[in-house]
């Protein structure tokens, strides 16, 4: 059985506490002033243990990618804390982030846009060594690159080719090799397979899992496809409009989803079997995700929730810890 979940005693690699990322909205051509803010991430907390994959799932505008970028300190954090390997990095400046960034890497969605077309694969994968300095000079460098390419299932002679000579799946492997170069402990993967063809997605998903077992990597896996997220993650946080609404182990989340939004997401995803689909109740929620500039009062999901009560319209439900290490923010479960 591959990638069994690390036990609760494993060390915490990443802790995010009440993270908020608000983007100012400006208006006026001459007298520019702030007229509001987009609350892209609005009070998000979670922990990730060593060797674990935490899935962040949700629809556009839920804040999953912004959360990833904030953890990497690639944008300004409004409030809250990000603690990486025991060190609070929330207020670290660039210089202090430099050694941290070696241990925290990112794999992007677009395997076409994230690789420099003018660089050879060996330069792309080896660039982190140049930036952070690798002892041993050129020979050590070539050897390292060859080892990394092998690790992600690419051939050594591919090192001297350019990105355009590769297919989408191969480019994503190049991106993964680059992320692995400095032996990070945490990799944030932002929709790493959603741009790939179906038959190629499985290759890359399997590669992520193999690397995790071999290298003991920790992943935060950000995606909108709940079937993929559930497949690769040990625990899953479901996000809606800047908040986590439910967090649970993958088994619990599917067997016993508590939040109506989690239930709606699960119901929306068809199962590739016509027999099963024919007997499945089709409960499709109405409406679309509201603007993050003006999130609804009370529970942010109440405007679309089939079970909304009066209290949901006014009172924001807090996250409540439940047994089995899961938590949910819903008035039905207070």
């Amino acid at each position: 059985m591959p990638s069994s979940a690390p036990d609760a005693s494993s060390e915490t690699v990443l802790e995010v506490r009440d993270l908020k990322v608000h983007f100012p909205v400006m208006a006026g051509a001459v007298m520019r002033k702030q007229v509001g803010s987009v609350k892209a991430v609005d009070g998000v907390s979670f922990t990730v243990r060593r060797g674990e994959t935490l899935g962040l799932v949700g629809e556009s505008g839920c804040g999953k990618s912004t959360t990833g970028l904030a953890v990497l300190k690639m944008l300004d954090i409004t409030s809250g804390h990000v603690v990486f390997e025991g060190e609070d990095i929330t207020n670290h400046d660039r210089a202090r982030m430099r050694p941290i960034r070696r241990r925290m890497q990112m794999v992007y969605q677009d395997p076409f846009g994230s690789l420099n077309p003018r660089m050879k694969v060996s330069e792309i994968v080896g660039e982190p060594f140049e930036v952070h300095g690798l002892p041993g000079g050129r020979a050590a460098y070539r050897e390292k690159v060859a080892k990394l390419l092998d690790m992600v299932g690419l051939l050594p002679d591919m090192a001297d080719r350019y990105p355009h000579e590769f297919s989408g799946g191969q480019r994503q492997r190049i991106g993964i090799a680059r992320a692995l170069a400095l032996e990070p402990s945490l990799i944030l993967c932002d929709e790493p397979v959603s741009a790939l063809d179906v038959s190629i997605q499985a290759q890359v998903v399997n590669l992520f899992q193999e690397l995790q077992e071999r290298l003991g990597l920790t992943y935060v896996f950000i995606a909108h496809d709940l079937a993929v997220v559930r497949h690769i993650s040990h625990r899953i946080a479901v996000m809606y409009l800047g908040r986590i609404v439910e967090i649970a182990s993958r088994a619990e989340l599917y067997a016993r989803p508590l939040h109506p939004y989690t239930q709606a997401l699960l119901a929306a995803i068809p199962i590739p079997d016509p027999e099963i689909e024919a007997g499945r109740p089709q409960q499709i929620i109405t409406g679309e995700v509201p603007s993050a500039m003006r999130p609804p009062p009370g529970c942010r999901f109440h405007t679309r929730c089939p079970q909304a009560m009066d209290v949901c319209k006014t009172v924001d439900p807090p996250m409540r810890e439940m047994e089995g290490g899961r938590a949910v923010a819903c008035h039905l479960h207070q």
């Binding site: 556009s60 063809d197 499985a202 909108h224 993929v228 993958r250 068809p270 199962i271 499709i284």
Partner: protein, 327 residues
Amino acid sequence: MGAPLLSVKNLSTEFRTERGTVKAVDDVSFDLAAGETLAIVGESGSGKSITAMSILRLIPQPPGRITSGEVVFDGQDLLKVDESEIRAIRGNRIAMIFQEPMSSLNPSLTVGLQIAEPINLHRKTPWAAAMDKAAELLARVRLPDAKSRVKSYPHQFSGGMRQRAMIAMALACQPQLIIADEPTTALDVTVQAQILALLKEVTRAANSALILITHDLGVVARYADRVCVMYGGRIVEAGPAREIYARPRHPYTIGLMASIPRLDQEAGQRLVPIEGQPPNLAKLPPGCAFAPRCQRAADICRSERPPLVQTTPEHLSACHFHAQLSA
């Protein structure tokens, strides 16, 4: 069963590129009955979209060219009619819905006007009445505030609302056939489900046939009556949806099903990917296009192209070893 509504026979479409001529669609044949939903499934470059565009003669010429075949729609070969006749059919008796609603709507015209236009054009309905009809159609696709939204511009709509407007436009002239090319790929998961359910509901109510082009095997399972699986420009397997999922008879279909994670299966198990890369249409192998990635490939697969043959009266497979395959 009488004559099918649409009968595509031996359709081939080529594109001239810098690297030579590419056969994007190669000898594709299928039938579609009135009121039926057919899914054409495939990955990028499989020829699924080019097949749909060839049916409506929307292939840019040059570099594209339909080299052979027939597209018989309601007794008439659409490849033989002149330009004015095909225009009278497009948007009228056959409507098309595209993946990107923003790029298929005119940003400088109101949504209502764009829905009313085909009604005015094809049905000669006066503008005022056509605009009323547009509001009615927007209500039918359950656009909130349909009456006042007729005067909105596309940019004032969300992605889901735009796709609803596209469906309203497609329904405007009560087409016998709607072709939807990845209609929900750009949308959020919950909105995807809404739009597909709506599309299925309105086509059923109007008894329109639907060709649904998609890469998503889950969507096919939920909505399609019949399926054509395409690979490298050809149909490799076709048949009733239930039959294809229960007893796939082509290694590519079997491979696709094993490679996707399913919500109803135990998580954490290894997926079984299809090794290798999708085919390069400019350099297709002489035999079966899937042979380089097929674990069952034998010598014959690398030299001889397998014909699409019946494995049962309703189920077709283009594999030399279809009789030995059972998933």
